[in-house]
């Protein structure tokens, strides 16, 4: 199931300067009951975004029209907790194509890469600069350049490079996924399995 190709993304960003944002906040468990991958964006950050009666919480960033864009900038240790891919689906379905943080939880990061959302890990200093820049001007744009593996604050031109392994980078650039690859080496897998003890 190929996904959107990712090359260069230039967009304003939505700031969420909270640490340890866990996947139960990104998508609470009670919204995991679907059997299809649709509509998860409606419940992204559900309990931070809405009151119990469904009315929006005015002080939450997604309800503030000042901030918008295809990039979500989170605090340190973003995506900790559960392995639910629904968290990455919710981020994608809401319209984000990249998440920026100074530190990502492992499974969330992998899930993002598997569905075509780019996790961009920056230094704590650069993360602070991004938050400060958006604070000063909510229309601040970021440029995420996957071929060059750089993220740039457009207002000041400050730039930092980020890591991604060559295989995943190629997948993201071309919209390939792991299952396509695994299918292509299936014979090798079968002969490997034949030699295992169990």
């Amino acid at each position: 199931m190929a996904y959107d190709k990712f090359n260069i993304l230039t967009s304003s960003a939505v700031p969420l300067p909270i640490e340890n944002v866990d996947t139960d906040q990104i998508i609470p468990a009670r919204f995991l009951k679907a059997t299809k991958r649709e509509g998860f964006g409606d419940n992204l950050f559900r309990d931070w975004r809405y009151n119990g009666d469904g009315t929006p919480k005015a002080d939450f960033v997604l309800n503030n029209p000042t901030y918008s864009g295809k990039i979500l900038v989170g605090g340190k240790n973003f995506g900790s907790g559960s392995s639910r891919e629904h968290a990455a689906w919710a981020v994608y379905d809401y319209g984000f194509r990249a998440v920026v943080s100074s530190f990502f939880a492992d499974i969330f990061k992998g899930n993002c890469l598997n569905i075509g959302v780019l996790p961009v890990q920056v230094s704590p200093e650069f993360s602070e600069k991004i938050f400060a820049a958006i604070d000063a001007d909510p229309n601040t744009e970021l440029e995420i350049n996957l071929p060059e593996q750089t993220i740039t604050l457009k207002t000041t031109g400050e730039k930092e490079s980020f890591d991604i392994n060559g295989y995943k980078k190629n997948n993201m650039l071309n919209g390939f996924d792991d299952i396509d690859y695994l299918q292509s080496v299936k014979e090798e897998i079968v002969s490997f399995a034949d030699k295992l003890p169990y």
């Binding site: 866990d22 240790n77 907790g81 639910r84 499974i107 695994l182 080496v185 897998i189």
Partner: protein, 464 residues
């Protein structure tokens, strides 16, 4: 070349290495449940591929299941639909299915080990982060996303870069009233919820060697809460004794051969780790969490730290305490509580019920406490009855529910109301984890029992 336990199991499952990329990693055993598998099956259909090795995947329903009246139709339509989808998919692809009502049904991380599906040296995955539990047997076991569930179904492999290696040694003598849960919560409080990220942990030292399999499962289960993908413990006689005779465990000559192999599964004396940490058993006391992540834990006799004593930003810390309705420097002992939850893949095994019963025996449930006692499986439930534990619980005013994940993540009706405090033997105290607005205090089964009979946070050592 010297290898760690982790290296030995990992390296023997690499089908191929990709330059500047992940390994194609073979999975021996795959567990699925109703929440994270439906979309993976849809993926198979849209690609027109089948399940490569249906006999390597095991389905059980747990996340959504009600814990009372399991013989009746599931009332929540969405939950019922997910449970039905699991059954339909399992049947269509020839996968073993222990659905609601099946005598083998229970929480995936409880039923796998108790039926001998979990074996030393195996690679095990499930679309659930607490798959790390199975590492207690010397398996490499970790949680995966739904895309990866589809990969395993279709090719029995995932694409995974090899994690770094960490060894956590705990040596010494645990004090009375200090349980495996406390050991794990103590380690997480030292490492924080991100301290293990990027690593796979091996637990070593006499404290783990002397633990029962149930205790080891509790510890490995919580590995993910320090950010580690998983944790494992070298298999030994305790492991073999637990597994022998279980449904899927090898039998006869195959058993002898397997044990011979399993005995080689230990870290070589001169093997090295990317990180190594040492803790003293004597420093650990019964633990309780006070905040909104499992790293925010302290000894029950301690005060809540002030913002400047903890790592991380002050704003996040204060937000967390405000959610909990707590303040810096608060004393934990004596805080009133409303709910007690005994259960989950962390502490829903027979030993946990024995421990809980040992405290409540001859005492009464406090009137202000609602208690949910949820066994991890039907096998655990049966054992609770056989051992006379049910009688003790009933005498003390408790009711035993039916197996499932229950209030650990509150996908079913077992939800803690907003603003209420729950002492919970589960694994996560995130905001709203046990129901919107719920406030969770993670603790061991005996701490939960002490709270259940006193109606407030109580040092369980006072009731031993």
């Amino acid at each position: 070349m010297s290898k760690t336990l982790f290296d030995k199991v990992w390296d023997s499952h690499v089908v191929r290495k990709i330059e500047d990329g992940p390994d194609v990693f073979f999975i021996d055993r795959h567990f699925i449940h109703e929440v994270t598998s439906p979309v993976a099956f849809l993926g198979l259909k849209s690609r027109g591929v089948s399940v490569l090795y249906p006999e390597r995947t095991f389905a059980t329903a747990d996340h959504n299941t009600p814990t009372i009246n399991q013989h009746l139709p599931v009332e929540d339509a969405l939950s019922a639909n997910q449970l039905k989808a699991l059954e339909t998919n399992a049947t269509e692809y020839g996968i073993s299915h222990w659905g609601l009502g099946h005598q083998k049904n229970g929480i995936v991380h409880v039923v796998g080990p108790e039926n001998g599906i979990t074996l030393p040296g195996a690679t095990i995955v499930c679309g659930d982060s607490h798959t790390s539990t199975h590492g207690a047997f010397g398996a490499i076991a970790f949680g995966i996303g739904t895309s990866e569930v589809e990969m395993v179904l279709s090719t029995q492999c995932i694409m995974q870069p090899k994690p770094k290696k960490m060894r956590i040694n705990v040596n010494g003598k645990l004090s009375k009233g200090v349980t495996p849960k406390d050991v794990a919560l103590y380690i997480i409080s030292k490492l924080t919820t991100s301290g293990g990220t990027g690593y796979f942990v091996e637990y070593a030292g006499n404290v783990f060697e002397e633990m029962t399999m149930e205790g080891r499962m509790t510890v490995c289960n919580l590995s993910i809460e320090m950010g580690a993908r998983g944790g494992m413990i070298a298999p030994d006689q305790t492991t073999f004794d637990f597994l022998e005779g279980r449904l899927y465990a090898p039998k006869g000559e195959a058993w002898t051969k397997a044990v011979e192999y399993w005995k080689t599964l230990k870290t070589d004396a001169d093997a090295t780790f990317d990180a190594e940490l040492n803790f003293n058993a004597e420093d650990i006391e019964p633990m309780i969490t006070y905040g909104t992540n499992p790293g925010m834990g302290i000894g029950i006799s301690k005060h809540i730290p002030s913002a400047n004593e903890v790592e991380g930003g002050e704003e996040t810390y204060k937000k967390s305490l405000a959610y909990m309705g707590f303040h810096e420097d608060d004393v934990m002992i004596g805080k009133p509580i409303d709910y007690v939850f005994l259960g989950s893949c962390t502490n829903g095994r027979i030993e946990d019920f024995r421990a809980f019963a040992s405290i409540v025996k001859g005492r009464k449930k406090a009137d202000n406490v609602t208690a949910w006692l949820v066994p991890g499986s039907h096998i655990v439930e049966a054992q609770i009855k056989e051992e006379g534990i049910l009688d003790i619980l009933t005498e003390a005013g408790f009711v035993l529910r039916q197996p499932g994940c229950s209030a650990c993540l509150a996908m079913n009706d077992d939800k803690v109301p907003a603003g209420k405090y729950a002492v919970s033997t589960s694994n996560r105290n995130f905001e709203g984890r046990q129901g919107p607005g719920s406030r969770t205090l993670l603790a061991s089964p005996i701490m939960a029992a002490a709270a259940a009979v006193t109606g407030k946070l109580t040092d369980p050592r006072d009731l031993l």
